[in-house]
């Protein structure tokens, strides 16, 4: 445990984390935009249309990475929440809380792109399909975490409560996911398994590139939000006052 604690305490030092984030953010953005442009070119121009879904398969290059991120960020948020509650590391609290809006944005995006994909494919914008439904429940979980954090007058108390809720949600998430999937097969025994078909290699590369780009987006956005939160929490301390007066 001592190694974990040491790493966290270095990251937990607000001025150090603030400087580190300020240094890393431009590089992360560069990686995100570079990979994203490459992936978009591959997905929108180079990749062929799918023989079943036609051109609308191109929405997948945005939809699938967003759905992956929406679940991955929730898991990450809960892991940092766990660290915050067990080792009482302030930085982990800040990171967990900063993850929530980014995760909610990806969830929203997965829902919007999913229903825009559904209109040409299924003929309707919204189907109570297992994936869309569990994404919707996931959005509610994110909104709950954000709402709880915002409802407290003391930000730290709200952050810790939100961390605990994220943990409870993480325990429940697989149950929600599998029960929704099972519920769906119960009510739609003859659903068309378009999405279930295996991925053609020509789709794999743009998908992987976009998935990497969204990961860098998350990291850059997370560090930006962490910087904001650090300044809000330490506005009276020396290093913030020095930073405020620095020439831009």
């Amino acid at each position: 445990m001592s190694t974990v604690k040491r790493i966290f305490h270095q990251f937990g030092s607000p001025p150090w984390l603030f400087r580190f984030a300020g240094f890393a953010i431009p590089w992360l953005w560069a990686a995100c935009l570079g990979l994203g442009a490459w992936g978009l070119w591959w997905g929108l121009v180079k990749a062929p249309p799918d023989y079943l879904q036609g051109e609308s398969v191109r929405i997948m290059y945005l939809h699938v990475p967003s759905a992956w991120m929406s679940m991955g960020i929730y898991a990450g948020m809960a892991v940092f929440g766990f660290c915050a509650l067990v080792w009482r590391v302030r930085a982990a609290e800040v990171i967990a809380l900063a993850s929530a809006p980014v995760g909610a944005a990806f969830t929203l995006l997965a829902l919007v792109t999913g229903s825009l994909w559904g209109r040409p494919t299924w003929g309707t914008y919204w189907v109570w399909d297992a994936r869309l439904t569990s994404e919707l429940v996931l959005l509610f979980l994110y909104l709950g975490v954000m709402g709880l954090a915002a409802a407290f007058d003391e930000p730290r108390k709200g952050a810790r409560a939100a961390c605990l809720l994220a943990l409870v949600g993480l325990v429940n998430l697989p149950l929600i996911h599998y029960s929704v999937e099972w519920w769906n097969t119960l009510h739609q025994p003859a659903s068309v398994g378009v999405e279930g078909s295996s991925i053609h290699p020509s789709m794999l590369w743009p998908l992987l590139l976009m998935a990497l780009a969204t990961k860098f987006y998350y990291l850059a956005n997370l560090l930006t939000r962490t910087r904001l939160q650090l300044v809000v929490e330490n506005r009276k301390s020396r290093w913030v006052r020095d930073w405020v007066l620095e020439t831009r």
Partner: protein, 223 residues
Amino acid sequence: MTGRVFLPLLRRDLLLAYRRRSELLLPLVFLMVVVSLFPLGVGPGLQVLSRIAVGVIWIAALLATVLSLDGLFRGDFEDGSLEQLVISGHSLPLAALARVAGHWLVAGLPIVLLSPLLALWMNLGEGGWSVLVISLALGTPTLSLLGGIGAALTVSLHRGGQLLSLLVFPLYVPILILAASAVTAATDGLPYNGQLGLLAAALVAALSLAPWAIAAALRLSLE
């Protein structure tokens, strides 16, 4: 020492509830009003009603549970007895379990007992009645336990009611799905043991995990 906190707390909660008997009826009246609105909204056609019966009764039960959960720990929080309990050295998860058990006996069990009447109103197929009662008996304690976590997290907030429902409804999704499909299977003459078994498993899991989460949330709220 741990054995000495559960029963006294439970007895106290039941006694307090008994002294305010009229408040006990409120969740039940709420349940009846909500269910009786559905025929008015979707029309009195018996076929339509029997198709949506399970969902309506279960969702009304969810709403009634959450409504009664809002004040689960608030009184104890505001008069300081929660703080006394925490520093008394008694097991806090056990105390939380006592609180939730009291809540279920007062607000959950009546729903279970009332459900045959609701099934009658909603024209639920007769094969589903007993399964509806069993599913509510297995499911509502889980609802109380999961909701207890939300109630403990929002205990120090002044207007936690709507937030509480946002927090706990997503957690209720698996229970709702399992219970509804058990009853639907029973009315269709299909086997339903699997769903009821999973509901029981969820109850056991919630019984063994939720008290610790509630205790952690209460400690957080008192910090």
